[in-house]
Symmetry: C2
Subunit: 543 residues, 2 copies
């Protein structure tokens, strides 16, 4: 069981220092502190445990230290920044673990870019030593990259030449699509095991600047100071504390305050329920600040995030998640109203950005999602996004019972997908006017109205409901899990592509393919034989 | 050895009828006429041989029958339109063959859409029987889809539920991105083995209309007549004949008139040379029409197309193609000038569109390409695109020798990539002004100027040239072919994504992954066990 919760006091691999508006996140990986057995985390290489700490730090900086404007990522190891994902860990991991590991590390890097773009926390990579593979991929997720010029330190993406796999944590995509490196240079760089040092690296746009060892620290500090000052003064906000989530774990599931996961292991599906807030959730910003991490939209979505990660990594055989909601639609809408009214307040902004990230995590989860809309459910506003994220929505059609859905202002753009469209835009590509109509609708939509509005896949009546749901679950969980993953990855992201969707679509899919190929993972494969006396041997057929 | 050349007289599986401005392409697959052994092409299912005929017909309609405005695709088999790619063929094919098969069929479907969009030949699918899997994918590549309502005929994408693979010939992408079907409905449809009949299919946007059997023929004919008339009168152009290519095949390569392929089998690379036209290529449209398929830009690119297909499918172990050109830059530029001056003439338009398709075939070929720019080469205008398509360009730096490159008007948009950008736009995403500068440059660029302009990866001098090229070739061909495929697919397509790039990137990559997964192709996999008494058994771990 992988645990995704941590906090700075418990970090083993990172050190977080904050001085005024500048945070420094220093990598100092303990080689013996590994998530699994069979490998050592030498040279600041990382495994999932290291990345869980990084993800925590990125998240925490936004909520606990909103005053921070620049985050410098550096290393405490001499002459080495980071050697990337640990190769022996990859070589000994199952296919499913490799894929989940890469997905999580990709999401962490996207969260870094999200913090830079939306939270005014700009990430700067201070490469005080060599950054190879995932090390450079971490750097390229930062907005600026500075490399020490010590005659030795280099940046590199040696995955293709040394390991027979891709720089799949966004590396290839960010090279040509974020830093817009010329494609032939990107080709050379990605096949050059030893990488490039300062001068050429700058010339090719792979880093922003290089400084000699004696001036490295001061030059980076000066640049950081420029950024801090260039952005104007920031209000001296006081952060809120992210306390550990309270969760009761049983063999059959996980019970949080607002979220519960019930596993139906033999049937390979789970019920995931999100509960609405109480009726009296505060509306004043001072009270919200006082509530801190117990404020419903923050607590519920943190719980949901944790539940999703557990389902992904610890419950591999669960192929289908039935998403349910419980509670008062009015209470959910009241929260959305408060979030919308205070959207310029830093904490509300962070809470909303977090909700958006969690929903994107759901979109990117390789399990089927069916939303179950029944009496007592509250698929409204932000929770409507759960239904819109789902592969299908089932809504009970029973005139005797009150079954409703509705939108809020939050469905208009505050919670974008990775393709930067709203879920309604992606859903209604053929008739964009349907989204407008929906927003013009007064009050909640009953089943008939919701169906007419295009929100419902199937609306069985009360006589058929149980049977139809049972059959739908059985059918879905009988299908090939791999085919479903590929199908959902294709159908969920209609419309434009972005850097993020290119990473999770094109790049990730190719990497997953390669992670299945004998040339990488077979007995003679490059990943399998890395660092061993045996040599990799390729089947040279091009596919 | 697969042969990609055919002509209507030789078709075994299709019948091409032309009546005025309407062509009918009728599928009538001969079940015993297969490309390989071990399967029968029942129910209008297809293998690569069937699709080579289709691709030929689509191409030929543009050149030989420019008067045609509507192409109706239908079937001569009762109650069945097309059952899709033959499953036993897929089940018994190697991974590399499956991937190449899908790539070719995808390119054929893109060519259908290209003909509709750019050649005024609108494709209409007249489904006079059930269209399943690749059958429906063929229909969805057409602009309009009509289904017979006979109580039995349906459209379906049964790949996921029956075979554990994807509708990977564009199916999933076209569902949500071309026809913009609501994602939950696309999900239901793609998991429903039996598919949908007329009424529901129309309601969900999967077809345009359905007609009862008794009225099917006349209704489709009426609709086709509407299209023909609606588009205004078309000039009664007379087409040109596409004669068989003349090629001398040896164990070491293929020799066409303007193209030659030299295989260096032990070293796993090939030299691909394209020769410039003669100095006196005509400039008057009447002379060009008389030349027909011997007009240089048509003949050279047809030869190049054939050479690329052979390299892909018949020379799997060739991992690298060194692209060379030979001849006079002036002659190439003269052709480009003629093409540009006559771009509104139907034949010139078709010739240019064809060049663009061949270059896209190159972009999508899973082999590395290095352009070798030496004295006597002519990487100018349309042939400059070969260098821009290449993963790297090597240009000799020898002040004693004349080594040059240059642009023409054709580099400004006539030969777009699948992402609808020019190759210069894709190359210079970081500084788009570099393309403008290039077009302002007077005369050809020597090595130094070309390097400065951003066209050259490496420019070794005459002392280093041979060694550097030799080492570059050796290094490239020593790398994992799979890692290179994934890398090139990521680096070649910087910038925006389109329907086409989504199909060749996201969808194809996921399909290739699934084509490696035991749940599809293992001894217990769904593809392997289809139609056998044995049952597929899945590993239900979700990845």
């Amino acid at each position: 069981m992988v645990n995704f919760e941590t906090s700075p006091e418990a970090y083993r691999h990172w050190k977080l220092d904050i001085e005024g508006q500048v945070a420094t996140l220093s990598m100092d990986v303990q080689e013996d502190v590994t998530l699994n057995e069979g490998y050592k985390l030498k040279l600041n290489s990382y495994d999932l445990g290291v990345d869980i700490e990084l993800a925590d730090a990125v998240q925490r900086l936004r909520f606990e230290h909103p005053e921070v404007r620049v985050v410098v990522i550096s290393s405490l190891k001499p002459r080495i920044f980071c050697a990337g994902a640990n190769i022996y860990m990859l070589g000994t991991s199952s296919h499913a673990f490799k894929v989940n590991f890469c997905k999580f590390t990709n999401e962490t890097r996207c969260a870094i870019e999200d913090a830079t773009a939306n939270s005014g926390q700009k990430y700067v990579a201070a490469l005080n030593g060599t950054a190879s593979g995932g090390g450079y991929e971490l750097a390229i997720a930062c907005e600026e990259i500075y490399l020490v010029d010590d005659g030795n330190s280099a940046i590199s993406l040696p995955e293709v030449p040394l390991l027979g796999v891709l720089p799949g944590t966004g590396g290839l995509t960010r090279l040509v699509d974020k830093r817009k490196v010329r494609r032939d240079r990107a080709d050379v760089f990605s096949t050059l095991a030893e990488g490039l040092k300062g001068k050429r690296a700058k010339e090719w746009g792979l880093i922003d600047e290089y400084f000699p060892t004696s001036k490295f620290q001061e030059s980076v500090t000066a640049r950081v100071q420029d950024i801090v000052e260039g952005n104007g003064r920031k209000k001296a906000e006081r952060g809120i504390k992210l306390n550990p989530l309270q969760v009761e774990v049983t063999t059959d599931g996980r019970e949080y305050k607002y979220v519960s996961v019930k596993l139906n292991r033999e049937k390979r599906y789970a019920d995931l329920t999100v509960r609405a807030p109480d009726a009296n959730t505060p509306t004043a910003i001072e009270e919200i600040e006082k509530l801190g991490d117990t404020y419903w939209p923050l607590q519920a979505y943190r719980e949901l995030d944790d539940a999703l990660l557990h389902l992904r990594v610890n419950q591999l055989e669960i192929g289908l998640v039935c998403v349910r909601t419980e509670g008062s639609i009015e209470s959910v809408l009241a929260v959305d109203k408060t979030l919308e009214a205070n959207k310029d307040h830093w904490l509300v902004r962070e809470v909303t950005l977090h909700m958006a990230r969690v929903l994107r995590r759901l979109d990117l989860t390789a399990k089927s999602f069916f939303a179950m809309i029944e009496p007592g459910s509250c698929f409204a506003g932000n929770l409507l996004e759960l239904a819109l994220s789902a592969d299908r929505t089932y809504m009970l059609n029973d005139p005797e019972a009150k079954v409703e859905m509705t939108t809020s202002e939050l469905n208009k753009g505050a919670l974008p997908m990775s393709n930067e469209l709203t879920r309604l835009q992606s859903r209604f590509l053929a008739n964009p006017e349907k989204a407008d109509e929906l927003f013009k609708h007064k009050g909640t939509l009953d089943t008939e109205e919701a169906e007419e509005a295009g929100l419902v896949t199937f609306a069985p009546d009360d006589l058929d409901w149980e049977d139809e749901i049972r059959v739908a679950i059985e059918e879905r969980t009988s299908l090939s899990p791999d085919a479903l993953t590929g199908m959902e990855a294709s159908l969920r992201f209609a419309g434009q592509e972005t850097l993020d969707t290119k990473i999770f679509g094109r790049l990730t899919a190719w990497q997953n393919w390669i992670f299945q190929r004998p040339n990488a993972v077979g007995p003679q494969g490059a990943l399998t034989n890395y660092g061993k006396p045996t040599q990799s041997q390729f089947d040279y057929k091009r596919t």
